[in-house]
Amino acid sequence: MKSPAPYRRIANEVHPPHLYPDYKSSLARAPSHALVRVKQTLSEITGPSRSRDWRDGDADLTHANGGEALGERIMVAGRVLDEDERPVSGALIEIWQANAGGRYAHPSDQHGAPLDPHFTGIGRTVSDDRGAYQFMTIKPGAYPWGNHPNAWRPNHIHFSLFGAGLATRLVTQMYFPGDPLLELDPIFQSVPDEAARSRLVAKFDIDVTQPNYALGYRFDFVLRGRAATPMEA
């Protein structure tokens, strides 16, 4: 068989370190040994993104249980690209988020803000041939958490992506421009590189808005690109 090209390595400053003491949950869960560096094989270049059962999307989160969700409607749209800015089509994109009051429809969320019976906060879609995707949703509220005294998470939407291979798996969070909580948030601040951090903040985009209906934010993803040469034979 032919040898597919492996994925390029990512610079150290792009991803957070495993141990980031300001984020308390990392203290007992981050590995203490260095990761063992290995060469990619067919196991990492392949991956589950093309699984047949995932084509059913639900990219509009603003209606549930026979009613309309409360809060500020937003369209989040963008593209999934690789480092060479080539579109990644067929990527499964899953999102989950708090409602407009800052509460998740999750049994472990004990925050006192109200649940919204018409908002489940979960969505799923697949990027198209241009790598494009979009979700219609509600701007999530900020909420307190127990990391340190008076800790608040900034407004954010969680994203999970399956690119073409296991090596491109990505889970991240999208933030909103101008949020004063960003500089106080240890999860956001755990990304070492300032430019990399700023790329986790969506851009307001008037062209993404739906006139008379929803504000629009643009958020692109960049997954690992391919190395120039095939896997070592």
């Binding site: 068989m1 032919k2 990512i10 792009v14 991803h15 957070p16 370190p17 495993h18 984020y23 949950s25 990392s26 007992a28 869960r29 981050a30 590995p31 040994h33 990761l35 063992v36 560096r37 290995v38 060469k39 094989t41 067919l42 196991s43 990492e44 270049i45 392949t46 589950p48 093309r50 480092e83 899953e94 989950w96 998740y104 429809a105 472990s108 906060g121 979960i122 969505g123 969680h158 999970s160 291979g165 296991l166 090596a167 798996r169 990505l170 889970v171 991240t172 969070q173 999860i187 956001f188 755990s190 990304v191 430019a195 790329r199 986790l200 993803f221 960049v222 690109g225 896997m231 034979a233």
Partner: protein, 189 residues
């Protein structure tokens, strides 16, 4: 050239979004191959079970072929096997997958790798997901597998699932220890 998007933790509330349809039984009646069950727990650096982790697995079919356009080996695809699973840990940090023993797939040196299941671990507290592999105890190819050889001998056992004594079933035990003395080997590729 564009810079890659940074990773962030899944946090504590992912299950509503990612585990709507838990996939921990990969086997249908017509799936080819030897049935195996993988059971284990996720533990933190204090030995405390992690009740809010998610484990994803990805593996080749019984003939050693992945269901993916870039695997163009001659080995047969199995219409009854996708190769992907994911499940959350329970209150005791435990997880279970019913699957089949994967066939051996070629490595970068064109030699066969030992049969293995690729594992990705997500949890609150993990700012990046972790990657490891489940190898099976007693496999001849374990002795020559390049990834196992890249690991210090004293830590290799953390990658090898061990059979449990369960009559009539091939049950393998594989704990994922996130930190500390018995820490599972995690890979960077």
């Amino acid at each position: 050239m564009a810079l890659p998007t940074s990773s962030q933790t899944v946090g504590p509330f992912f299950s509503c979004g990612l585990l709507r349809n838990p996939l921990n039984d990969l086997v249908r009646p017509e799936t080819r191959g030897d049935r195996i069950t993988i059971v284990g727990r996720v533990l933190d650096g204090d030995g405390v079970p992690v009740p809010d982790a998610m484990i994803e697995i990805w593996q080749a079919n019984a003939d050693g072929r992945y269901r993916h356009p870039e695997d163009d080996q001659e080995a047969r695809l199995d219409p009854a096997f996708e190769g992907f699973g994911r499940v959350g840990t329970d209150a005791n940090g435990a997880f279970r997958f019913n699957t089949i023993k994967p066939g051996a797939v070629p490595g970068p040196d064109a030699k066969l790798q030992a049969p293995h299941i690729n594992v990705t671990v997500f949890a609150r507290g993990l700012l990046n997901h972790l990657s490891t592999r489940i190898y099976l105890s007693g496999e001849v190819l374990n002795a020559t597998d390049k990834w196992l050889q890249a690991v210090k001998e004293s830590r290799r056992r953390t990658l090898i699932a061990t059979p449990e004594n369960a009559p009539g079933a091939h049950v393998y035990h594989f704990d994922i220890v996130l930190q500390g003395k018995d820490e599972t080997v995690f890979f960077d590729f």
